[in-house]
Symmetry: C2
Amino acid sequence: MADNRGMRISAKADYAVRAALELASVSDDASLKAEAIAAAQGIPHKFLEGILGDLRRGGLVVSQRGGKGGYRLARPADTIAIADVIRVADGPLVSVRGVRPPELSYVGPAESLLPLWIAVRANVRKILGEVTLADVATAELPDEVQGLAEDPEAWTNP
Amino acid sequence: MADNRGMRISAKADYAVRAALELASVSDDASLKAEAIAAAQGIPHKFLEGILGDLRRGGLVVSQRGGKGGYRLARPADTIAIADVIRVADGPLVSVRGVRPPELSYVGPAESLLPLWIAVRANVRKILGEVTLADVATAELPDEVQGLAEDPEAWTNP
DNA sequence: CGCTTCCCTAGTAAATCGATAGGAAAACTA
DNA sequence: TAGTTTTCCTATCGATTTACTAGGGAAGCG
């Protein structure tokens, strides 16, 4: 009864970020077709189309139809945080039981759970909010993040 | 199409932690009945029973049947991290598309996504792994966590 | 027009979420 | 030993979500 799942990043969010990275990696006013992104990243084409629609409605990408059409980023890649992409594709970064931490209320010995969830959220926000598409696409993560990822301990499973 | 959900803590994980906190708040060898915990925390009784079963199988609580029965923590409250409880109730703390970060493989401009997820996971682990049931139950969070939770910015939504 | 590519709506199988139901098995109590 | 209490186990359930697929309409271009 205690199996998979915990705090998960959905396929949709993962795909959205990867698609955005693909767009971030091409020269500034060039555009990519959904099919090309799908092939490059191994994402189901029609599923990706829906995700790109979300990114467009969220103002992160712009699209063009027709023969020379495709998608491109609406802003420079170094002004779009990974958090922006996840939020547009998947909603709030962190939630507890479906609601965002500030809406929760705890009683008795659980009262201090609220500040704890808030702290977790603040930390996730800090990382995903400061790392941009440009950072990831050029493989130059901020030192702070790089440091965390270099600790061999971080790569081990529980 | 871009609605709720992101990185979520499930009802089950939330309930598990709250139940464990209730147990942490009573004197050391006393025990609580599932019904009492359910009432104190407003958790559906039968649902909680299943969760307490997980905690028992995970070695975090011990149980006793019969008239004077109930549940108590298997170890002192200051040796059980919130992360322990979540993992036992809900599986790995952080996962991407159902699998744990080290099992992922990215190509092209998405290559540095892996270290990014690793960094996020390391950070979540750090917080939830160092805060114990005793810390939360006594409302004395570690300074580092307290600091994060005190920033007013952390309490605002996006 | 004809081709391409985005755009939109619907549907769908499978899993998960958040429970509920019913009773068997143990422990204590009288 | 009978009765009570409480945990323990299995099974089920409706709603929602997840990860896709299908099919066609609407732009844009040559």
